[in-house]
Symmetry: C2
């Protein structure tokens, strides 16, 4: 992967994939013959590549990348599964604050099985399941070669789609519950966008820890079924936005205490509703803006209600000191999956149908569960 | 004051001031004769009283309250000066979150001279200057009797109007500079409403500490003169809002570093401009909303720019542990006044003209400096 990605990045952005591929093949073949004829090579890798930023369905292509060398500290991983997350789409669009240098391979998290290891690798063996941790660019391809330190070995006793998706959404939920205020059993949180995977994870982790959770969903056909589904996951209260058009939303709380912490992934009115539920001195963490509307806050919410408003960005968090412990957190989350305390809906899609999965992830084909590519 | 305020509060809200006053006089006279014929009594006190919440010019009256007993731990203070702050007006209007019980005497801070002391008072003597610290309701009257612990003795070597006003605006500026992030010499702050007294104090304290300050003022006739006045106080940069209608406000900063901390007392567009100036990970503290417009924040400001939004309320702060040190802070601020490092414009108005001062404070007579009643 190292050699391949360097070569990819060195290419002029306007070069065609044909030329790109030809040069890479030539380079690897030449090097193989000259310098390390006994070197281990990866198999060729089928990859979702984009050469320009733009609409993902227009700029991504599936191409075959040539074999690369597996150096002594490298591990060659045969990818098993990788999701299409909204942030993956934003990265391809070029609207993400960290703009990957093109040409680039899509994807940011996933799970794979060790295919071969370099001569100095002791802790990983063919057949092990691994995830890139911290996550990094380029998981949408069939084989990845990276230094052994990149890979975190996990147990193989759970569905691959959970291993493939644990690093982004469940970890976001866990960090947001832990990193802003100290919550104890019996406290309460409130969130909008409760049907998102992060939202579902928040409900389940909160329930697991004895934290009450108040959930806001948008008005939609079938909202009663959605409510029941969220309640079956552990939601204490579920309100559609229109049910909250009352003077004092807290009067709807019953025995649930006033939430100390709120999560906003919607913006606009749905964010204002989270603020209304928060108790004096509460904190709202924004991690998404699905409505594309800003957050609007009254002056008195800051001065007299003493609310704090913050944001969470996983990719930034991954650069912090705390992230050193992210593998422990991932094991904790996968443990919850194993105990069936943490579940969410996904759809595994064969790699050959990548562009159908992409269209579903882009919302072009109606509402679908999280799309996870199966290699 | 204790007896007087208890009696005031015990009155039925509909009772007239005549009855109120008559009863108090009767009570004090009776008690004086019966129980403590040798007790020290305060002089009668002329006070700005309101019986109902409402527009201050309609509900306030100046009446004379009868003498009260100065008990052994009490100090009777002849008030020298007390300002009319916006929060005083809000309290009378009844729109403040803490609604004083009526009937009540107006005012929250001020300075006075000790008139007489109870037999157990050792640390204060007639002639000393004192301020109520923490501040408390009822400073708009000529004599106040309260426990010795309420009074903080200050030096008499500075203009009474500064002593009268140090506890609200300058202390707000100091706390906001100190309590949210750690600022070092060479760092920068940004604020809107820079012509307010808090704004002017922020400029001067920041300058005193080597902290760059970026200031936003509204467009108005004579804005060039306002700019020059703020620069003479120590402002590094002063922009009118219209000058900031550019794509990248930070390009206007020159050598001033990107501000880590921002202050908002306006809301609306002026708050958005503060947010635009803030550096990655910066904090904005809201302490007022002069435009009566809310604060609007993009999702990406929270997630990708990692901004934190907070609020400051002095009255709440006064209930915190830190407030125990507020007398030290007040001495520090009065020291800055003495060194002429801290100044702001005020207008001393004789108590007899209270309702003219009130009209000026209410903005009914155009723009005027802070009104300070001189007793």
């Amino acid at each position: 992967m190292a050699l391949r990605s360097v070569a990819l990045q060195a290419q002029n952005r306007t070069s065609s994939f044909f030329i790109l591929t030809q040069r890479l093949v030539h380079r690897v073949q030449t090097q193989s013959v000259r310098a390390f004829s006994s070197a281990i090579l990866s198999p060729p890798s089928k990859a979702v590549v984009y050469e320009l930023h733009g609409s993902p369905d227009a700029v991504t292509r599936v191409i075959e990348l040539p074999p690369v060398e597996v150096k002594e500290n490298d591990v060659c991983v045969k990818m098993l599964a990788a999701p299409i997350n909204p942030s993956d789409i934003n990265r391809i669009e070029g609207v993400y604050p960290v703009r990957p240098q093109v040409p680039a391979v899509g994807g940011y998290e996933g799970v794979g099985e060790v295919h071969s290891v370099g001569s100095a690798v002791k802790d990983l063996s063919p057949g092990d399941w691994v995830i890139p941790s911290p996550p990094s660019f380029g998981t949408w391809q069939s084989y990845i070669v990276k230094d052994q330190n990149v890979w975190h070995k996990i147990n193989k006793d759970l569905p691959m789609e959970y291993a493939a998706t644990v690093t982004v959404n469940p970890l976001t939920a866990l960090r947001m519950l832990d990193d802003y205020i100290s919550l104890n059993s019996g406290d309460a949180i409130v969130q909008n966008g409760a049907t998102s995977i992060v939202g579902q994870c928040i409900i389940q982790i909160a329930r697991y820890r004895g934290i009450h959770n108040v959930n806001i969903i948008r008005d939609r056909a079938g909202s009663d079924e959605v409510k029941e589904r969220l309640k079956s996951l552990g939601a204490d209260e579920v309100f559609t936005e229109s049910k909250l058009e009352v003077k004092n939303v807290k009067s709807l709380l019953g025995n649930t205490p006033e939430p100390a912490l709120g999560f906003n992934c919607v913006g606009g009115n749905a964010a204002s509703l989270v603020l209304k539920f928060l108790r004096q001195g509460g904190t709202m963490v924004t991690y998404g803006g699905m409505s594309k509307k800003p957050v609007t806050v009254s002056t008195s919410s800051f001065i007299f209600k003493d609310l704090s408003l913050r944001g969470f960005w996983l990719q930034k968090w991954m650069t912090t000191d705390k992230a050193k412990e992210s593998r422990i957190m991932i094991d904790y989350l996968l443990g919850l999956v194993r105990e069936e305390k943490l579940k969410y809906e996904m759809e595994l899609v064969p790699f050959d149908s990548f562009h159908v999965a992409l269209d579903k992830a882009l919302g072009k084909l109606g509402s679908h569960p999280k799309q996870v590519i199966k290699f």
